[in-house]
Homo-oligomer: 296 residues x 2
């Protein structure tokens, strides 16, 4: 199967699995599920689920055990977008060409939809992995993901990002924010996926390096797209980072250097995994290129 068909295939698997964790709607509880569903199925790239599944597969794992991990990560990613878009945060009206959650359901429900997705992610991990992995591995995966998503990871990165806005900025600060705000969950996706596949320590380490490099590359490209991307393809206003005086890679190092850096990181990431996995990591190589060359 070529890469783009493979992506469609696993995206469909992920979507089907996600829906399993949505109960039939009753009158009193319907709205929270509707609001959660709205953002979950608002056209995301499913990057974190794909990373988790590819890592599981490259170490020869059972796909069934990758799905709960993949979907929990997408729950967490989606919650973070809903909260990021809130008026008190980035105050965005559109994401992926659609109205943001609070523009449709109001602020209170949007906050709760985020809370619901985050909490339900841990239910999904503890429930969905039962009987598929040894309990000790389930605990390890939950710990990995909670650490990456929490105040030492994504939440901490978001705070640092808020504090950096409008202030003089350094490369060190930028690295701190990148590593946590987006990098931590991308790394957790790869690592938790690999753990769900029963990886050994060497595989885990090499995949971690790959994740760090493509994670950084992903964010540089994101910042470049915000600067010069096509609004129709991205689905939200471009130039908002500049307007908000955000600390970004191209703002700090210029566009040319940023492009070269993104390319270099992807090259290194590919080299690293090819050395260990050889032809078995075909899709992970293609994914690295996709991250570099995407236009949305």
């Amino acid at each position: 199967m070529d890469f783009s068909n493979y992506l469609k295939h696993i995206t469909q698997l992920v979507d089907d699995y996600l829906k399993q964790y949505f109960p039939p709607k009753s009158e009193q509880s319907g709205l929270i599920w509707t609001a959660m569903e709205y953002s979950l199925f608002a056209g995301g790239k499913r990057l974190r689920p794909i990373l988790a599944i590819l890592a599981n597969q490259v170490v020869g794992g059972d796909l069934a055990a990758a799905l709960p991990v993949a979907c929990a990560l997408e729950f967490i990613h989606t919650y973070s977008l809903i909260h990021d878009d809130l008026p008190a945060m980035d105050n965005d009206d559109y994401r992926r060409g659609k109205l943001t959650n609070h523009k449709v359901y109001g602020e209170a429900i949007a906050i709760l939809a985020g809370d619901g997705l985050l909490t339900h992610a841990f239910y999904l991990l503890s429930d969905g992995l039962e009987n598929l992995l040894p309990p000790a591995e389930i605990v390890r995966i939950i710990k990995e993901i909670a650490l990456a998503a929490g105040p030492l990871g994504m939440v901490g990165g978001q705070v640092a990002d808020l504090l950096a806005e409008g202030h003089s900025s350094s490369g060190e600060q930028l690295e701190y924010i990148y590593n946590r705000k987006t990098g931590a969950l991308i790394k957790a996706a790869i690592r938790a996926g690999a753990l769900s596949g029963g990886c050994n320590q060497e595989q885990l380490e090499v995949l971690t390096t790959y994740a760090e490099k493509i994670g950084l590359s992903f964010q540089i490209i994101d910042d470049i797209l915000d600067l010069i991307g096509d609004e129709d393809k991205i689905g939200k206003r471009v130039g908002s980072d500049l307007k908000n005086n955000k600390l970004t890679y191209p703002n700090l190092y210029g566009l040319d250097f940023s492009r070269k850096k993104a390319q270099q990181l992807v090259d290194e990431a590919k080299k690293e995994i090819f050395a260990l996995f050889g032809d078995k990591c075909e899709y992970l190589l293609a994914l690295a290129d996709y991250i570099l060359n995407r236009d949305r």
Copy 2:
């Protein structure tokens, strides 16, 4: 040790344990931890930790395994209060006589402090219980707590509560909200505490009934205190439920009936556990009375 000294003793244990999960503050990550800490140490009653510890102890459990459970529950309870108080939700300026989180740190940080506490709770469970309980029990406890806190529990109850405001209301709706908004986490505290103590099925069932009854009683008393309580003791404005046209027990059934109901539930809860545990459940009996007779 008499009950009030025992409460002081375990509250101190809980506070000490909570602090363990706060890392040394660096310049860039300091604010999120400060904001989380502010609400966590703002004078809460520590009811959920106490319930978890008492349940662990009454089944003869190891106190060390109750502490991570107790503290994770307090993290989750605290996050829910921070988000409830936000301008988009209940818009409260004070809680327990102190400024609410967003009044001190701003809305963005308050949202993130809540997110951080919720996520860190699951880190604390997966990290803190390691080597203290069999991994399968850890997974079971995480599942229990995630289910109770998420869209099928606390978050769902909060949404139903928001939707009920200002609308004609029924006893059925009120029960739905009570069971989820506060009842679910109180029940999870008792159940997860008992599981951390290695309880058997009969003990779990009896403690669950106890939790359901004191949970409902707790909420009736909360509503009564909001109606006729002493503002200085409660630490926030009274009468806000009435003002917000909230669906409450006394609003629906009157003050007299509500008081009788709260008393009846506590009597039943006590009878239930005494029949199984006898003199060993002294503190759980005292706690039920404390819930009924408290003035804050």
